[in-house]
Amino acid sequence: MSTSARTDIFARLRHAAGSAGEDVLARRDELGHAPPPALPAEDLAEAFLCNVLRNRGSIDTAADRSAAVKAVGRYVYQHYRSQRLVAGNDPRLAAMPWRDAGVLPRFGALESGEAVALSFARLGVAELGAAVTWTGKGNPAVNNLLPEHHIVLVDVDDLVATMEDAWQRMADAMREQGRPRGVNFIAGPSSTADIEGQLVYGAHGPRHWHVILLGETAPDTGQRARERAAGS
């Protein structure tokens, strides 16, 4: 049945809209690109963090990896008075100086009863205030979706301005590493407005989303992002 449905549909489409020529892709490229969206700040890090805040995420900055693990430890302790968290088998996470913060994640997929998961994003997209992860060993999908608190580390070198930039970088990576099963752009804690249009956080996924920007940024980038987000 499926073959004939396929044949049938393609025949109808060719009839309705003829051209199947080789110049389709050339004409596609002539379409050009969408106008780039404006960012809330000139500095990419500030723009990214500002949009994370607008998406109701919380932010922190860490100049180096030691500061980053301390920021993770602080966050977990603040919320749970414990040091427990889970992280995917991402070599970049495994290589972090966890001893500096007195925390050591359990590496793997989140299991029931575990409340905090840590991901290392592939990219941060300033335009959206979104962190991008790929499904797989380095970041099992449940680590994004099932914790109460989702902490995401984003390296400043992995920041891009727009979605187009993000796809360009990912296309390069996919050529080398193959396409992942899933690409997730995460921009905020899970939410719903399905009851009388009232926004509630923690619909199915995390109730809290915490982004730590790792690497050299201009002084007070976090503070300026906060002021900018508060002013909007």
Partner: protein, 471 residues
């Protein structure tokens, strides 16, 4: 889904008598345009992006066979199994076959208007499966045994009190009262977590298919669609052939328009792209992934005069800005797609005869075309459908409808407010065509109904603008 579009006027009349719901619709009608406008004003490139996306959409539709073929090829490369379905029945039985091959008994579903169109839930349930909607809005209406009233917020017609009562009645809550909205969301979260973990098959829809890399885009705020796509061992994506876009960057451009138009956000929480089963080293994810590509009338639309309707991105903005939708609500339209987009789509996907009132449910105010991110000239398409009705002499029905409409119009001041222009156009046209305006039995209708409303001093649009200024 079974259509009751032929009863639009009666449905509408009933809806208007439900005062609390009508009042809630008023609130939504005042509120949703404001947040959409704020989001669009905060995005200076909106108009330029709209024009760019329109060119891209036209190009994709002009070459749909090419891009659908490219998508299929890439998706298969990624490990997807690709199925085609000519009509609703073929989609439903393809999905049932997949479930049965895996001995599945429980299905977890993300929001999908396409499966509402095909009536997939009933079909699977009749075959003995348990189907659980997991989007909060869809979950609520499934528990209540209702149909969606809005393509983005399917349960917005229900009050928090109604939803609380529903949960109290359906769930074993013990002492809990679910006083706050957050408590109700929590309750659904607890109930549905188990359903995700138990389901053997997850079903989701798609906001766009990307030809160059074979990914299907899913845009949500709750994360339920992503749970459906990641937890059950089998994933089925149900969508239609017209969703294909050439490049990932085209999906990105479209997304910028979609989120702002749909919810007034600059960005939704989750935008995900899926293609294929778990890879060799992956610790999680479905073992088998299918996509079912439905035609169900789209190739006909592609060939005809209403092709632009295929450029619709299902944002719901035209519903939120429509005075008729705001007055009578989504259920009155009698099928899956309400509001202006539904009044065009329903006749095209079902039949003009059975939904003849819908193209007339338009005040020609033009708000929908103004806000439509796909730049679809909805009022023009509705006018063309009306012209087609008159060519095809779907007149007797219209004559009857005109009279019935007037009968309830005369009893409903709210309705009068919203529909004056529609009724007048219709009556004028009837009178003009038949030369019998003065002899229409309307006068007796009026005199028989002493409570015919005194016409408001202002037109609808004047009132509408005034309300916008007041807020």
């Amino acid at each position: 889904m079974e259509s009751t579009s032929d009863r639009f006027l009666l449905n509408a009349s009933e809806a208007l008598r439900d005062t609390p719901r009508a009042q809630r619709r008023d609130v939504m009608a005042a509120f949703t345009p404001l947040i959409r406008n704020a989001a669009v004003e905060g995005f200076a490139a909106f108009e330029a992006t709209r024009q760019h996306v329109k060119r891209v959409r036209q190009h994709s539709l002009d070459n749909l066979a090419f891009y659908l073929g490219q998508f299929e090829h890439e998706a298969v490369q990624n490990g997807m199994r690709v199925h085609f379905a000519r009509d609703a029945g073929e989609m439903n039985s393809t999905v049932l076959d997949i479930c049965q091959q895996h001995g599945a008994r429980r299905v977890a579903k993300g929001k999908s208007m396409v499966t509402e169109e095909t009536g997939l839930n009933d079909f699977l349930q009749d075959a003995g499966l348990t189907v659980r909607e997991t989007d909060l809005g869809e979950y609520i209406i499934q528990e209540a045994g209702e149909t969606p009233s809005h393509i983005v917020g399917p349960a917005l017609h229900k009050s928090a009190d109604e939803i609380r009562d529903l949960f109290l009645q359906k769930h074993d809550l013990g002492e809990r009262e679910l006083a706050a909205t957050g408590d109700m969301v929590d309750e659904a979260r607890q109930v549905l977590r188990r359903q995700f973990l138990d389901a053997e098959v997850g079903i989701i829809g798609s906001n766009a298919l990307i030809a160059e890399n074979g990914y299907s885009m899913l845009v949500t705020n709750e994360g339920n669609g992503d749970l459906c796509a990641n937890l059950p061992p089998v994933l089925v994506i149900c969508t239609t052939i017209d969703r294909v876009l050439p490049r990932a960057e085209d999906a990105a451009a479209m997304l910028r328009l979609l989120v702002r138009s749909a919810t007034g956000q600059a960005q939704t929480c989750y935008t995900s792209y899926y293609s294929g089963p778990r890879r060799a080293q992956d610790p999680d994810g479905p073992l088998e992934t299918h996509i079912v590509l439905l035609d169900n009338g789209r190739s006909d639309i592609l060939e005809g005069d209403y092709r632009e309707m295929l450029e619709c991105i299902r944002c719901g903005a035209c519903l939120n800005h429509c005075p008729i939708y705001s007055s009578v609500g989504g259920h009155a339209y009698g099928w899956v797609y309400p509001g202006p987009m539904g009044s065009v789509l329903t006749p095209l996907l079902t039949s003009l005869e059975a939904s003849a009132a819908l193209p007339n449910a338009c005040t020609a105010c033009g708000r929908c075309a103004e806000v439509c991110p796909a730049d679809i000239p909805l009022p023009d398409l509705l006018r063309d459908l009306r012209a087609q009705e008159s060519e095809q002499r779907i007149d007797a029905a219209r004559w009857r409808l005109g009279l019935r409409m007037h009968a309830w119009l005369a009893r409903q001041p709210r309705l009068y407010r919203a529909l004056t222009s529609l009724a007048m156009t219709l009556l004028h046209r009837l009178g003009h065509r038949r030369g019998a305006f003065r002899r229409l039995p309307l006068a007796s209708g009026w005199t028989g109904q002493r409570d015919f409303p005194v016409p408001q001093g202002k037109t609808f649009m004047q009132r509408y603008r005034q309300r916008q200024r007041e807020h």
